[in-house]
């Protein structure tokens, strides 16, 4: 495959932008800065200038593209259907390829994380296990108190507390490779479950809930062991070749023809998982990738489309809940109402709308690590909005958002608990049993 570059990008993709400005009020970085270069239209202007040979794809372009969250809010707002996602990934790939995106240290960490850890599920699990030991042994507390991470540099010191808490056991320890609905629930078909990378280490319980909900609705669930990262991390961070490697590995683990759907429960992954065909436009993987794309469904989308069973109400007090949209679930996949419908169907919950629910929380994959300042500004705006709702629960459907919101609410000492729609639905089904 040819090296991705803006000059080779079909010019129609760039030219489709008519610079009307409708994307501006939805762009988080424009909202916080009010500077055109930090807007989708401004970034497209820079990319187009590169394609036209009027501007160099150098450090300034790299800085700007790294400042973009890739939240895709602009694609929802765009009247002209501009494919910003493709432009964004192409520009990032180009600035990575020409090494304008950062120094050797950054390149080392990037190589380590993208190439050496996330492509190998066993290595990732080892890292998860080490992290879990570290977090549980009490070592973490001492290390933090002694400010040891700061010996390795300020960045690492700021980062260490952001590491997600590793659950025990991991996802594979909670879910059997094949599970079937309990007696009394008629089988409707069989689905595959994408357990995710970080999701399976830090949110195995969410995966468990996803399986429980599917079982309760009559779906057999196949969950292949030790699944690799889906490659969205690689695609969004300018490494298309690695993204293809990750995709190839996953395509080998599932057979779409035997499954009614392949279920993903992480918004960020789903938005990438549904577009494997774009990674393999030709060759032997083109047809399997197309078959795959047709089967990948977000869990909320799947439950609502196939008609999920509403849990039976029990007496009890009502809890106020609000819902934060994962960018790649709403803007990337267009799944907006299904998670809300699920929350509304759960007895005992009163859903109140979150103002700016579809504005990015600043997590954006590893953006919170690479652009901590902007990430923090967006996080504070988000937790402020959550405060306005007086909700005691906030639901979201993406591990990155979940961690980011929990961290932001902790910073504020807010008594708001972060959870996910499938977890609440699984709990509601469980309460029926114990009644």
């Amino acid at each position: 495959m040819a090296k991705a570059s803006l000059r080779d990008l079909d010019y129609k993709v760039l030219q489709q932008c008519m610079h009307c400005g409708m994307c501006l009020p939805t762009c988080p970085t424009y909202i916080t800065s009010k500077l055109e270069r930090h807007s989708p239209r401004g970034r497209i202007a820079l990319m187009r200038a590169v394609a036209d040979g009027r501007f160099e794809a150098g450090t300034e372009l790299a800085r700007e593209m790294n400042h973009c969250l890739g939240c895709l809010a602009c694609t929802t707002a765009c009247p002209a259907g501009v494919d910003y996602g493709t432009m964004f990934e192409t520009a990032r790939a180009e600035t990575e390829a020409n090494h304008t995106s950062g120094g050797p240290m950054r390149r080392f960490y990037r190589w380590l994380v993208l190439e050496q850890i996330f492509l190998f599920p066993a290595r990732l699990r080892l890292v998860g296990w080490l992290l879990r030991v570290y977090q549980r042994s009490g070592l973490a507390g001492w290390v933090r108190r002694l400010k040891l991470p700061y010996l390795l540099g300020r960045d690492l010191g700021d980062l260490e507390p952001q590491a997600p808490v590793m659950e025990s056991p991991f996802s594979d320890g909670r879910i059997a490779p094949l599970e079937t609905p309990p007696p009394g629930v008629p089988v409707r078909g069989r689905v595959g479950l994408l357990s995710g990378c970080i999701q399976s280490l830090a949110f195995g319980s969410v995966n468990r809930s996803t399986v429980d909900v599917l079982l309760a609705n009559g779906w057999e669930v196949e969950t292949p062991r030790l699944q690799s990262c889906c490659g969205s991390l690689h695609a969004h961070n300018g490494a298309p070749e690695l993204a293809r490697r990750a995709a190839r590995a996953l395509l080998e683990r599932f057979d779409p023809s035997r499954l009614d759907a392949i279920i993903t429960n992480a918004g960020g992954c789903g938005s990438h998982l549904k577009h494997y065909a774009a990674l393999f436009p030709e060759g032997e993987l083109a047809a399997p990738a197309r078959a795959w794309d047709a089967k990948v469904k977000d869990i909320h989308e799947f439950l609502v489309a196939t008609g999920f069973r509403k849990p039976v109400a029990r007496a009890g007090e009502t809890v106020r809940i609000t819902y934060h949209e994962s960018c790649h679930l709403s803007h990337g996949q267009g799944v907006r109402q299904p998670p809300r419908e699920i929350l509304r169907a759960i007895p005992g919950l009163q859903l109140v709308e979150l103002p700016e629910a579809d504005l990015c929380c600043g997590s954006a994959g590893i953006y919170n690590i690479l652009q901590p300042g902007e990430s923090q500004r967006l996080l504070e705006r988000k937790t402020g909005r959550i405060g306005e709702t007086s909700a005691s629960l906030v639901a979201t459907a993406n591990p990155g958002c979940h961690l980011q919101l929990a961290r932001g609410l902790r910073q504020r000492d807010a008594a708001v608990h972060v959870t996910q729609p499938v977890v609440l639905l699984a709990e509601a089904y469980q309460r029926e049993q114990s009644a």
């Binding site: 489709q16 009307c20 409708m22 009020p25 009010k34 372009l61 009247p79 002209a80």
Partner: protein
Amino acid sequence: MAARLKRPLRLSPVRLYGASLVTPALAALQEITGPGGLLTDRADLIPYAFDGTAELFQLPLAVALPSDTAQVAACVGWARENRVAVVTRGSGTGLSGGSVPLPGCLVLCLARLDRILEVDPLNLTLRAQPGVITKEIDDEAARHGLFYPPDPGSMKISTIGGNVAENSGGLRGLKYGVTRDYVMALQVVLADGRVARLGNACVKDVAGYSLKDLFIGSEGTLGVITEVLLKLLPRPAARKTMLAIFSSMGAAAEAISAIIAARIIPCTLEFIDQTTLQCVEDYTRIGLPTHAAAVLLIETDGHPAAVADEAARMEEIVRRHGADEVQVAADEAEGAKLAMARRQAFSALARVRPTTILEDVTVPRSRLAEMVGFVSETARRHQLRIATFGHMGDGNLHPTFLTNERDREEMERVHHALSEIVDKTVSLGGTVTGEHGVGLAKKDYLKRQFDEASYDLLRSVKRALDPGNLLNPGKIFDLDPA
């Protein structure tokens, strides 16, 4: 639309690479605007080299981001001293090139003057800085049960200062008028750097010339607006929406005339033509009758009893005038669904080809059907795709060219077709621009509409208020006869 720009599109004569090369003059400007208030790097300037108009691109010398009136005045003073042209800009959504930079100019971006200063529920006014987003004005009014009616298509991002400078319209023109009808007072930085307050909160005011009106729609050529005082209305309590489908544009136009003759003024009277309908259906697949020649979207608002009565009468009238089908929304949600075809029109059109050129010729309402017919006939003659939609109630059409600016030959035909549409508009007693402004795009057409005496008057006003030709020079018209 910008095609007619005579000046070759080239990069600005001054190229700056970072702070080290900033000239002493720019250092003085930096002093005025403070840290982060001046942009001079190429990567910062490229995103300010255009507005919402197709085909226009020009790098400025620098972009200043003042944060109060004093800074604006100081920037204008700096520009006068250094003989640098000033182009004022809000969110850069204009469709006639009014805020496109000029070579070597200073762009004065007012996005940071973004505060609503006061809502006065006793006098029904709202005072705001020019960088406030139009929609936020109406949202704030709504919190007080009040209403700011002008609703240009870009209201989610356009600034109120830009709306006043362009005298923007919107969908509610027929019943509620345009931006001008809601401006009670302005604070303006004049070309000589002084700050003038024009108008006041009084409904009646005949003290001297109505100077504020000179600045409304002046497209940044006479002064820099730094504060606006707007009139608000009570918010209508009810609204009713209906959709009517016609097999001829003439029948649709007659139905409209009959509604007006029945002494009903709907708040929305929008139409989309067959080409638009086809594109909307291709895009949304909501089952629109693509054989229809025109679809009308009609809304009435006000007191619930009046709304119910007007809606019933309008339904009867459109049926009597040959509507093939009439759908009346039962509630607001259904109304929003009906409005979808019209609301999605621009999105649907913008996806068809790489370049979308949105025109806004306007004719007296009674000539609208004739004009729409002429546009589609012109499209056929020049083998172009032109979809027309717009505001049937006020005669404001949006012939939308679906084209490709990189196709020189096709653009040539676009310009010929546009020129013919303009001539026809003028011959029907219309105007070359109903709501987008003249800017650079319609500069040449303005002469066809104005007689010599009135065209000279434009120049006299400009010379009197901006003798140094400092503010947005060369927009609307050239000062020196060519």
